[in-house]
């Protein structure tokens, strides 16, 4: 140990460039920024990255949307298929959300079976759709106990730079708003879905969404639990805890999750909820612009 300090003292010019320092001590580098109340990418602690929503980007899907939050890009495509209803709910269709984090979107993901993160995000979205009753599943019934619509909701992450849950949920909700399904006819066990002519209001229907939950996520940095809104990939990898607040258009909560990091005070959670209300309002106006 003594020799290293000696050599350091002997060469006072031994300094790092900022980018070397960032690679060697990512947390310390970050802490220096945070102490000045700003983040390395120039954002304030509670500001969000620019967000855009585009509808109907996939013509082969019944509904689709592409969402960008800073460097994170996700594409959600929804395909409606005629399926047999489940035995315990003969008059209800079903939703099958799935999030795919393939190696294309970041070098952090390996090819092979879905990563834990992809599965956790899929499960979180599934629970929000199901438990906050985003749409009446009875609307998806074609003929009771015979045929229903199954909506396959596939989210493909194209570029990953953190905050995948927010991006995925926005894309799912936007794609659900964009869904158009051709009106089917049921006749003695055969469901006919007419094809051919262009889709219009006459021959198709839209989904009747009861609420549109949107989420706002934060990470907790360091032992003093500094709150950072809309984390990017670098910020996610040096922090342990995250808080997500999912809220619908009437300001009702649909999901609150706080995982990891030390115990946080309830006033911090309140602060997150307040910030999420403002953010979800902003997101809704972005979604309505298109």
């Amino acid at each position: 140990m003594a020799s290293t300090t000696d050599s350091l003292a002997a060469s006072p010019a031994f300094t790092f460039s900022a980018s070397t320092f960032q690679k060697l001590h990512p947390t310390e580098y970050f802490r220096k920024f945070i102490s000045q109340g700003v983040r390395p990418d120039g954002r304030l602690l509670d500001s969000f990255r620019p967000t855009t929503v585009h509808y109907g980007v996939i013509t082969t899907a019944n509904g689709s949307a592409m969402v960008r939050i800073g460097g994170t890009t996700v594409v959600c495509g929804i395909k409606a298929e005629v399926a047999e209803p489940k035995l315990d709910s003969p008059d209800q269709g079903y939703l099958v959300p799935n999030v795919d984090l393939s190696p294309i979107c970041s070098s952090a993901f390996r090819p092979g079976s879905p990563s834990e993160q992809a599965q956790v995000v899929s499960e979180a979205i599934h629970r929000v759709l199901k438990e906050s009753k985003v749409l009446d599943l009875k609307d998806l019934c074609i003929e009771e106990a015979k045929a229903v619509w199954a909506l396959w909701i596939d989210v493909v992450c194209v570029s990953y730079d953190g905050n995948i849950y927010d991006a995925a949920l926005i894309s799912v909700m936007a794609a659900l708003l964009n869904v158009r399904i051709r009106k089917p006819t049921y006749d003695e066990g055969i469901v006919k879905v007419p094809g051919g002519e262009a889709i219009n209001d006459e021959n198709s229907f839209k989904l009747n969404l009861t609420r549109i939950p949107l989420s706002t996520s934060f990470v907790l940095f360091d032992t003093d639990l500094t709150l950072l809104a809309d984390p990017n990939f670098a910020e996610e990898s040096i922090t342990q805890g995250q808080i997500s607040v999912t809220i619908d258009e009437h300001g009702r909560l649909c999901r609150i999750s706080k995982v990891g990091a030390a115990s946080t005070s309830q006033s911090l959670l309140k602060q997150c909820i307040e910030r999420a209300k403002i953010r979800s309002h902003e997101l809704r106006s972005i979604m309505n612009q298109q």
């Binding site: 834990e116 805890g241 009702r252 609150i256 706080k258 990891g260 030390a262 005070s265 309830q266």
Partner: protein
């Protein structure tokens, strides 16, 4: 008002707890925890050798494996694993065992609602049994809001959960709850106890469904009060076990 399971009389009553430690003789620590009809068995192995790929230079790698009651592990089990692992990481003094692995296996034995809470409590008992150094002890309680009556029911059964408008899982550790008791004077609420809860720090929270902000914090309040009973129970369980071990060494 009586509850659907007919054994409880109050909405804020928990089901009887049960725990036993050191059930498995091949693991370093194990425990079973029951909330009425829900039961989770947990085993802890560690500090053990770590795979080169997972090795961390400054702390132990914590691995959590969840096994469902029936069938193969699915997406739900992955979510359970992540929730438990990330909540334990700040609690376990993993810096004491760098370059090792701590493996926690969770097996659901009986499912009658609140599996996540049951698993949290089983894990902490198993960690205590294995003698893993911890910063504090946690206690978890689930509650739900009834769709019709909007009443908060603690520790619901599967049957009750089917009528829920929202479900809330909370975990509180015993250290920050003590701090919050001390700080309750600063809060300007009429109800002293509500003041305590608004300060009770939350280690883990997972709520889904439809609920208001006020309902959320009410749930936190009731779960916090109930978690005190769980903390007490864990304390007694450890005390009894140590007494027994001490007697054995004396004999």
């Amino acid at each position: 008002m009586s509850r659907l399971d007919r054994t409880r009389t109050s909405a804020h009553q928990l089901r009887p707890f049960f725990s036993s430690q050191n059930l498995l003789n091949r693991s370093d620590g194990s425990a079973q925890f029951d909330f009425g009809g829900s039961s989770v068995l947990c085993s802890v192995v560690g500090p053990a050798e770590v795979k080169l790929r997972d090795e961390k230079l400054d702390k132990a790698t914590i691995e959590v494996v969840a096994r469902p009651l029936v069938g193969l592990p699915g997406v739900k089990d992955k979510a359970l694993e992540q929730n438990i692992r990330e909540s334990l990481e700040p609690l376990i003094l993993s810096g004491l065992h760098p370059r090792t692995m701590l493996q926690i296996v969770i097996q659901t034995m009986k499912d009658d609602g609140c599996i996540l809470s049951t698993a949290f409590n089983a894990v902490i008992l198993a960690l205590l049994d294995a003698g893993i150094p911890l910063k504090s002890i946690l206690g978890s309680v689930t509650c739900m809001i009834d769709a019709q009556s909007s009443e908060i029911l603690l520790d619901p059964t599967t049957e009750e959960l089917s009528r829920a408008r929202s479900t809330h899982v909370f975990v509180f550790d015993n250290k920050s709850s003590v701090q919050s008791e001390q700080g309750k004077m600063n809060v300007d609420t009429d109800d002293q106890e509500a003041g305590t809860s608004s300060l009770a720090a939350v280690l883990f929270s997972d709520s889904t469904g439809m609920f208001t902000e006020q309902e959320y914090f009410e749930c936190a309040h009731f779960c916090f009060k109930a978690s005190q009973a769980v903390h007490g129970f864990i304390r007694t369980a450890v005390q009894k076990k140590l007494e027994k071990e001490y007697q054995q060494t004396q004999a």
